[in-house]
């Protein structure tokens, strides 16, 4: 369950066209590179502007350079920016986590350590939203795994988005 810290975040600017994402993902699959997480979104509604795809991956500097070069070959890819050094970019990940109300007590101490928001609540489930760096999301999930409430917890995470600071 514990994900290793991602070493490299690739920020890819690509045409918002059918098949672009498949080509990017296919490049990773065909050449044996690992995708730790992937997020993609158009930058406008009518698909005229390119989309931004953020891929978290791991590898030696030579492998990362090769991934960058292979991705840049794709005709619909405009640029690939390596945001590997965390101090250069802002990164966020969204976690949705729901728990059985009976577990609330067990997680209470844990929740106090993180900034969260309750976004849905009824007699069966309470759903929290946590927006933070990936490290924090990892730490939070690790902590929930260590509580007795593990089976009464369900969650989903978005994968990292990131933006260069300057």
């Amino acid at each position: 369950m514990i994900r290793p810290t991602q070493e490299h975040l690739l920020s890819i600017l690509a045409d918002n066209e059918v098949g672009t994402l498949a080509r990017i993902v296919g490049t990773f699959a065909a050449r044996g590179y690992n995708i730790e997480s992937i997020t993609a979104g158009g930058l406008d509604d009518d698909q005229k502007k390119p989309s931004r795809i953020i891929i978290a991956t791991e590898g030696t500097p030579a492998v990362i350079e090769q991934i960058k070069a292979q991705l840049t070959r794709i005709v619909t890819v405009h640029s690939v920016d390596n945001l590997s050094r965390h101090e250069e970019c802002i990164e966020r990940e969204l976690l949705l986590i729901k728990i059985k109300p009976k577990c609330r007590k067990a997680l209470a101490a844990l929740l106090e350590r993180f900034e969260y928001r309750i976004i849905e609540q009824d007699s069966d489930w309470i759903t929290y939203e946590l927006v933070s760096s990936q490290l924090t999301v990892n730490a939070f999930l690790d902590a929930t795994q260590n509580t007795e409430a593990a089976e009464d917890v369900d969650f989903v995470r978005t994968g990292i988005i990131a933006l260069r600071k300057h």
Partner: protein, 580 residues
């Protein structure tokens, strides 16, 4: 204008005069549009794989983009091998295929295949055109993508309703949004200076050049020749690069790699400066990576940045079109008055290796040695500047070793993918691009059966393509490896029940010839060349010949098996077998 007419108009506007194809339900509107015009000449192949290879042969022998036109489903899946072949060898082709109508997409309709999904991994780029208004732009972009930067195959998946729908046609110059590949390098680039500095200092330099120089055009080959002459360095070519440098030149060491010459491989191993141009350090070239040219500084010039540092770490990578980089190097070398260091000691070592005469063989008995057959073919046809295509296997390597190429675009072989069945359709494509040329497919008895149906095409269009079968009754390269690596266990490599190739040729309406003895060989070659039509020449050769030199099982360049040494079966581990 209807979509189908746009296809034809775009072909005309892109300067295409010949296409290769096979009709079927989902592409019929385009075939109907073809019927009404005379500008684009359509060659009906007998299998779609051959359409793709013929387009490749057309492209490689002419420097223009080759075009294949096929139907949906099985039509286009049959082209997948040709597309992959073009991808690995960087050959510019455009494949236009029919698709079921847009409202049927994704419903498992008759002859529907997920074409863009299937071909994504074997094209440089592909398009599914859902709207006729995008069609002309896609068509022009496809040609641009196919031929620019590092060339490659592009596929356009064209639903039937889009072929029928009417829209506005844009001419090539009205289309924007081309992705540009600004891979030029100015002569005053610091990297060029650095390269020249190393070149002037080198004691043991070598040029190692590949298909990228040929793709960069005849002017790149001329620049290469001038640069090699100006520096006095030795040069070796990859399988794909043969013809970029004249084979008869003293500075040429022959092909390198697994079946390369003794002198080329040892020069690569011992050099202190390697200048790689348009080559990609294929495993068939490098052998054992950890012992690949261990003492050299390496300069790598390639139009595709992903090739630099992909396999071998280089000291200086220059992303540029070969023509542009060679021009910068040559101009600055001359302009700065650079001189090479004293290369006499280096050349005297090379001459020693060369005197080993690794390609020597003795034609002694009646039985034709395959090397002799190709040597005679070369000697008897070289004055006609023939275009040679090959299939894949022993005959291909012998052709590379014994046929000398003085010019680019005269040697068409499936290098990267190693596609048996490539040579004959490629020869058909080359013949159409060069109607006056002598085009010969040097084939094996196994490979030729993979696309033999194209004899029908050659006969229909009166294409005087010659098929020169090096017939040893074996899948020779498989047999050779089984002999050397798998303890002589000849699993499924004997060609039992071979057809009578002479009668087969006659059945198709071509001329069939046969030579079974050395004395008959010259006469058969003469007859073959003199005949104005397709010929199958069945040359029965010694079935036990192996192709040497050979670098074994992921071995380094200095460990070569040679013809005249006793080559006992090599003790190979499972790991070694897997590395072959």
């Amino acid at each position: 204008m209807a979509g189908a007419q746009m296809v034809i108009q775009a072909l005309v506007d892109q300067g295409v005069d010949t296409i290769f194809g096979y009709p079927g339900g989902a592409i019929l509107p385009v075939y109907d549009a073809l019927f009404h015009q005379e500008q684009v000449h359509h060659i009906l192949v007998r299998h779609e794989q051959a359409a793709a290879h013929a387009a490749e042969g057309y492209a490689r022998s002419s420097g223009r983009v080759g075009v294949a036109l096929v139907t949906s489903g099985p039509g286009v899946t049959n082209t997948v091998t040709g597309l992959t072949d073009a991808l690995l060898d960087s050959i510019p082709i455009v494949c236009i295929c029919g698709q079921v109508a847009t409202h049927l997409l994704g419903t498992d309709a008759f002859q529907e295949a997920d074409t863009t999904g299937i071909t994504r991994a074997c094209t440089k780029h592909n398009y599914l055109v859902r709207n006729v208004d995008q069609l002309s732009e896609v068509l022009h972009q496809a040609f641009h993508v196919a031929r620019s930067g590092r060339p490659g195959p592009v596929l356009i998946d064209l639903p039937k309703d889009v072929q029928v729908a009417r829209g506005k046609y844009l001419r090539p110059e009205e289309v924007s949004h081309y992705k540009h590949y600004p891979y030029s390098v100015p002569a005053n680039d610091p990297k060029i200076d650095q390269a020249l500095e190393w070149m002037a200092q080198a004691q043991r330099p070598i040029f190692y050049t590949g298909g990228g120089v040929i793709n960069a055009g005849p002017q790149a080959c001329e620049l290469l020749r001038n640069l090699v002459h100006a520096t006095g360095f030795p040069i070796t070519n990859t399988l794909m690069g043969l013809g970029a440098y004249p084979a008869s030149d003293r500075q040429f060491l022959g092909m390198l790699g697994m079946h390369g010459t003794y002198e080329a491989n040892l020069t690569m191993y011992h050099c202190d400066l390697m200048i790689a141009v348009g080559a990609r350090f294929d495993d068939r070239v490098t052998g054992k990576l950890s012992e690949f040219s261990p003492h050299s500084k390496k300069i790598h010039i390639d139009v595709d940045p992903s090739q630099i540092n992909k396999i071998v770490h280089v000291d200086l990578g220059i992303t540029a079109d070969a023509s542009c980089a060679l021009e910068a190097l040559l101009e600055s070398w001359k302009h700065q008055g650079r001189r090479p260091s004293d290369l006499r000691p280096w050349w005297s070592r090379i001459e020693q290796w060369r005197s080993r005469q690794c390609l020597a063989f003795k034609q002694v008995s009646d039985t034709i040695k395959p090397q002799y057959a190709i040597q005679r073919l070369y000697e008897k046809t070289r004055h006609q500047d023939p275009i040679i295509t090959t299939e894949v296997g022993q005959h291909q390597m012998w052709a590379a070793q014994y046929f000398g190429f003085e010019r680019p675009n005269r040697w068409l072989t499936s290098g990267g993918l190693g596609t048996m069945g490539y040579g004959f359709p490629a020869a058909i494509g080359a013949q159409l691009a060069n109607p006056e040329a002598l085009v010969i497919d040097i084939a094996g008895d196994g490979s030729i059966l993979m696309n033999l149906q194209e004899l029908s095409t050659a006969v229909q269009y009166r294409l005087p393509v010659k098929i020169f079968i090096i017939n040893n009754r074996w899948l020779g390269m498989v047999r050779q490896w089984q002999e050397l690596v798998h303890g002589g266990r000849y699993s499924q490599s004997y060609s039992e029940a071979l057809p009578d190739f002479v009668k087969l040729a006659e059945a198709y309406g071509a001329l069939g010839l046969r030579a079974t003895k050395a004395l008959e060989l010259d006469r058969v070659i003469d007859q073959m060349v003199a005949y104005d039509g397709p010929v199958v020449a069945d040359i029965w050769v010694d079935p036990n010949q192996n192709c040497y030199p050979m670098i074994h099982s992921g071995a380094p360049h200095y460990q070569m098996l040679l013809e005249d040494e006793s080559n006992e079966p090599v003790q190979t581990t499972e790991v070694g077998r897997a590395m072959l």
